[in-house]
Amino acid sequence: MAYTLSVNGRNRRVDVEPDTPLLWVLRDSLGVLGPKFGCGIGQCGACTVHIDGTPVRSCSLPVEAVGKGKVTTIEGVGDTEVGARVQKAWAELDVAQCGYCQPGQIMSATALLSSNPKPSAEEIDAAMSGNICRCATYNRIRAAVRLASGQTGEA
C-alpha cells in the first residue's frame, strides 16, 4: 500500500503493508533513525514520536492509523520552541548515559511542557513514567524537565 506521511514538516511517500508499525516505516523506509526500538510492545517509550503534538509509541502504531496526522520525531522537535528548550536543558545537565532512551524522553518531556508549562514533581513523574531509562538517569531527567520549564530547585 502507498501512503503519504507528513514527517517533520515534509510529505514522504512509502509503500508498505498497512500493519507495519510507524517506527519501522520511519527507520527502515525513510531513514529517520532518531526514534529507537526498545521493546516493540509499548512498554519502554524509546520509540516515542508526536502525532499532532501528542506523544505516541510508534512501535505499536500501524502506519495505516497515522492518516493525515503530522508526525514529529526527535529530528524535528527542535524546530518547536518548547522542543528546543527541552533539548537545551538535556544538554546543559548532561542527562544521558548511553543516550539510547533520550530521544523518547525528550519527546515525552516536550509533549508534557507543551500542554502543562509548569508541571509539579508528581506531574513530571506521571508524564515520564512510560519512558524507561535502563541507565537510570532519572534524577537528571527530572532536573532537566524542571530546568526546561523555568522552575529551579530540587526536582
Partner: protein, 730 residues
C-alpha cells in the same frame, strides 16, 4: 581518629556534588555541533593526537563507549596534558586495532585505572613536540617555553603560536625521550576534574544516528534470527518456503551453528528488505527444535536441590581460618540464615544488533560491542577467515552492563551476511535479547555466625551454592576466597557447592559482587541486630583499626578507606540523628569492588500493604585522589545505585523446562521514574590512583535497601526480589 593514618592519606578531602548537579558544567560545544572542523588535513603527532591547521585537535578514543562516558573521560586525560583548548577538541572513535591501541574493551571499570598514566603521557608527549617546534622556530631554549590552552608561549619575548600553526613542524620532529616527559601538577589541571558534558551529547539530544542499530549501508538488508527457547537445542526443520513467500523476504535459511552459547548458536535466519518484513517472515517459520540431552531444568528444580542441601556439608572448602565449629560451639550466641538472589538479565535498552558486509573474502563489521577483539577472533574462527581479513568498527552501544562482552550477535550477523551475499543488519527482538542472555547467576548463601558475649563476631560460616558444572562454578558464578569478611573474623569458613543449571551465565555490572554483597551485608546486619548494636557502628567495629589487608593491586582491601566512606555516609545521611516515623527506616551497607570503596544509606517507607517506597539514597565513594569528569562520575554512581535497586525491587529471570520464562519489559520490570529516589553522591578523595566508576557503586544498594526495610518493619528480606506481600503490616 585513626582514620586515614594507615593509608598514608596526606590529603583527605571531600568534594560534595548535589544530586543531578549540573552546576558549573562546561559545555564544550554548541547545539549546532562542534564537529564542523575545517577540511584541511591534520598533522598526526602520535597514535592518538592529530592537529589541524585551524587549531582543532582530534583525539582518538580507543575503548568502546557503552554509556560509561569513556569517549569523553579518556580524551580528557590526553587533552589535559596536551594543554588543549577543550572547546576545540574533537573525539574520534577508534576501530578495533590491537596493534595500535593494545586491548580495547569496556569491562571491569578498568578504563580509568589502566589508562590514567598512559593517556596523560600521550598528551604530554604531543605537547613536548609542539613546544620543541615552537622553540626551534623562535631559536630559543624549549625549557623557556610554556603552554596555555591551544598555544605555546615564550613569556620572555612575548611570542606565542597556536597549535594549529605548529602541528606540521611538530609532527616531523623525533619523538621525545620518554624520561624527559613531565606530567602536570594536578593543581594545574584545567580539564580533568571539571564537569564536562559527554562529547556525543549534542548528537544524542538531537537524535543523530550514533548507535549500532542506526548503521545503514548502501544496499543493506535486514535480518532476524530465531534460536531455540530451550538452551542448546538444535534446529530440526522449519517452513522456510512459507517465510520466503512473505513480501520483501529475500532469504530464509537454517544455521546449524555449534553448541557454544557465546559462539554461533543454531537457529533460523530470515533476511528481508525491511526488518518488519523479516519479522513477518519469521512468524511463518514454524520451527521444530531437536530434543536436548539431559533434564529440562526449571527454577523449582534448583530450589528443590537447594532445599535438600545441608548448611554444613559443602562440596569443597575454599577457605578455612581458625576453627569455625569450635568457635560456634563456644559462642555466646549463634545466628543462622539463608540468602538467595535470582538470575538477572542485562536488558540494555538497545537490543543486540550488528551490521556486517562480506565482500571479496573480507568481512567488515559495525558492532556495538564491549569486547571487539574477541569478537573479531570469534568471527574469523567460525567463518574460517584470517583475523586480518575481519575489520570491526566500534559503534556506540545503547547500554552494555557486561552483556556486550559476549559477541554472539556479531558472529550471527557475520554468518548471515555471508550467506545473504549482501550487507545485512541483524536486529534482535527484545524477547530474543531477554531469552538469550548470559545471565547474572542465581546464588544461595547458607550462613552461620557466632558472637561472643560482647557481640563481636567470632565465627562466620558461608556455604555458597552456585550454578556450574562438576566442581566448577559457571562463568561469573564464583566467589573469591578473600571476599569480605574473610580476614576480618578470626574463625572463617567458606565452602562451595555446585548446582547444575542450563542457563548460560556471564558478567553483569559488578559481577559476583552484585549478589554476594546482598547476602553478606544482610547477614552482617542480622548479627549487628543480634548484638544489639547500631548497624553502622557495628560495621566500623568489624573493620577495626586495620589498614591495608592483603596485597595492594591483587587481593588488597584497605579497611581505612572503607571506614572513611562509612563515616562520610553516616554524616551526610543524618544516620542515627534523624527521627524516623513508623514504617520508615534507614539501612546501611558497604562493599569494595573494582578498586572502589562504597558505603550507602537507603531510606525507605513501607506502606501498610507492603509496598516499598525508596525515599532517598546517600552514597559515599572513594575511587582515589581525582575524579576525572565529575559530571559523568555522578551520573554513573546514580545509575549504578538505581540499577541495584531496580533489580532488588522487581527483577528475576526464572526457568521453566530448560527455557527462560520472561520475555519483555511487561514481565521483567525495570525501574521507572516515579520509583527512582534522589541519589546524593559524595566522593571522599584519598591519596590513591584514580579508579573506575562503572560498577562499584552498585553492590551496596540492594543490601542497604533491605536493611532499611528491616529498620522500617522488623522484617528481614533474605530473598530477592523483595516481595511486598511479606512486608504487609500486622
Amino acid at each position: 581518629m585513626a582514620d586515614g593514618a594507615q593509608t598514608g592519606a596526606s590529603r583527605r578531602e571531600v568534594i560534595q556534588l548535589a544530586a543531578g548537579g549540573g552546576g558549573g558544567l562546561v559545555l564544550g560545544f554548541t547545539l549546532a555541533g562542534k564537529g564542523e572542523a575545517a577540511p584541511a588535513a591534520p598533522a598526526r603527532l602520535n597514535t592518538y593526537v592529530s592537529i589541524r591547521p585551524d587549531g582543532w585537535v582530534e583525539v582518538v578514543s580507543k575503548n568502546p563507549e557503552i554509556g560509561q562516558g569513556v569517549k569523553t573521560s579518556m580524551p580528557m586525560m590526553i587533552a589535559e596534558e596536551l594543554d588543549a583548548d577543550w572547546s576545540k577538541v574533537r573525539t574520534v572513535q577508534a576501530d578495533s586495532d590491537p596493534t595500535l591501541y593494545g586491548r580495547q574493551f569496556a569491562g571491569g571499570s578498568m578504563s580509568t585505572p589502566l589508562h590514567w598514566d598512559e593517556l596523560r603521557r600521550v598528551g604530554a608527549t604531543a605537547r613536548a613536540l609542539l613546544i620543541a617546534a615552537a622553540a626551534k622556530s623562535w631559536g630559543v631554549d624549549p625549557a623557556t617555553c610554556s603552554t596555555e590552552p591551544g598555544k605555546v608561549v615564550h613569556k620572555a619575548s612575548g611570542r606565542s603560536a597556536g597549535y594549529g600553526a605548529l602541528a606540521t613542524a611538530a609532527a616531523a620532529l623525533p619523538a621525545p625521550e620518554p624520561r624527559s616527559i613531565k606530567l602536570k601538577d594536578p593543581k594545574d589541571f584545567r580539564i580533568i576534574g571539571r564537569p564536562m558534558a559527554q562529547v556525543d551529547t549534542p548528537a544524542i539530544v538531537t537524535g543523530k544516528p550514533l548507535f549500532g542499530i542506526d548503521v545503514v549501508l548502501p544496499g543493506m538488508l535486514f535480518a532476524t534470527y530465531e534460536k531455540a527457547p530451550v538452551f542448546g537445542a538444535g534446529v530440526d526443520s522449519a517452513d522456510l518456503d512459507a517465510a520466503r513467500a512473505v513480501k520483501g523476504v529475500r532469504k530464509a535459511f537454517i544455521v546449524q551453528g555449534a553448541n557454544a552459547p557465546d559462539g554461533l548458536s543454531p537457529g533460523v535466519a530470515v533476511v528481508a528488505d525491511s526488518w518488519w518484513r523479516a519479522r513477518k517472515g519469521r512468524e511463518k517459520l514454524n520451527i521444530r527444535w531437536k530434543a536436548v540431552e539431559g533434564p529440562l531444568l526449571s527454577s523449582q528444580d534448583l530450589e528443590a536441590r537447594m532445599a535438600s542441601t545441608a548448611r554444613w556439608s559443602v562440596d569443597r572448602i575454599e577457605r578455612h581460618d581458625g576453627d569455625v565449629d569450635a568457635a560456634l560451639k563456644s559462642a555466646a550466641r549463634t545466628v543462622e540464615a539463608t540468602y538467595h538472589y535470582p538470575y538477572l538479565a542485562h536488558a540494555p535498552l538497545e537490543p543486540q544488533n550488528c551490521t556486517a558486509h562480506f565482500k571479496d573474502g573480507r568481512m567488515e563489521i559495525w558492532a556495538p560491542t564491549q569486547n571487539p577483539e574477541s569478537g573479531r577472533q570469534l568471527v574469523a574462527k567460525t567463518l574460517g577467515l584470517k583475523p586480518e581479513d575481519v575489520t570491526v568498527h566500534l559503534v556506540r552501544s545503547g547500554g552494555g552492563f557486561g552483556r556486550r562482552l559476549s559477541n554472539d550477535y556479531m558472529v550471527e550477523a557475520a554468518w548471515i551476511a555471508r550467506e545473504a551475499g549482501a550487507p545485512v543488519k541483524l536486529v534482535w527482538t527484545r524477547e530474543d535479547d531477554m531469552r538469550h542472555d548470559f545471565y547474572r547467576p542465581a546464588g544461595w548463601h547458607m550462613f552461620a555466625g557466632g558472637l561472643d558475649a560482647a557481640g563481636n563476631i567470632v565465627a562466620w560460616h558461608d556455604h555458597f551454592l552456585t550454578p556450574g558444572q562438576g566442581v566448577q562454578p559457571a562463568r561469573s558464578a564464583g566467589m573469591s576466597a578473600t571476599e569480605f569478611p574473610a580476614r576480618f573474623t578470626p574463625n572463617f569458613r567458606y565452602g562451595i557447592s555446585i548446582l547444575p543449571s542450563p542457563a548460560p551465565t556471564g558478567p553483569l555490572r559488578a559481577p559476583g559482587s552484585n549478589g554476594i554483597s546482598f547476602a553478606v551485608q544482610g547477614f552482617l546486619d542480622e548479627l549487628a541486630h543480634a548484638a544489639g548494636a547500631d548497624p553502622l557502628e557495628y560495621r566500623l567495629r568489624l573493620l577495626g583499626d586495620k589498614g591495608m589487608v592483603g596485597t595492594p593491586g591483587r587481593d588488597g582491601y584497605d579497611a581505612a578507606r572503607m571506614r572513611g566512606v562509612l563515616k562520610k555516609v553516616a554524616e551526610v545521611s543524618g544516620w542515627g540523628r534523624t527521627r524516623m516515623e513508623p514504617r520508615q527506616g534507614q539501612g546501611v551497607a558497604f562493599h569494595f569492588s573494582h578498586l572502589g570503596y562504597f558505603a550507602e544509606v537507603v531510606q525507605v517507607r513501607v506502606a501498610a500493604d507492603g509496598q516499598v517506597k525508596v525515599e532517598k539514597v546517600w552514597v559515599a565513594g572513594d575511587v582515589g585522589r581525582q575524579i576525572v569528569n565529575p559530571s559523568g562520575a555522578i551520573n554513573q554512581v546514580q545509575g549504578s545505585v538505581l540499577d541495584g535497586l531496580s533489580g532488588a525491587l522487581g527483577q528475576a529471570i526464572t526457568l521453566e523446562g530448560g527455557a527462560v520464562v520472561q520475555g519483555n519489559f511487561d514481565d521483567y520490570r525495570l525501574m521507572r521514574i516515579a520509583d527512582a529516589p534522589p541519589v546524593e553522591v559524595h566522593f571522599v578523595l584519598s591519596d590513591n590512583p584514580p579508579t573506575g566508576l562503572g560498577e562499584p557503586a552498585l553492590p551496596p544498594a540492594p543490601p542497604a535497601l533491605c536493611n532499611a526495610i528491616f529498620a522500617a518493619t522488623g522484617k528481614r528480606v533474605r530473598r530477592l526480589p523483595v516481595d511486598p506481600a511479606l512486608l504487609a503490616a500486622g
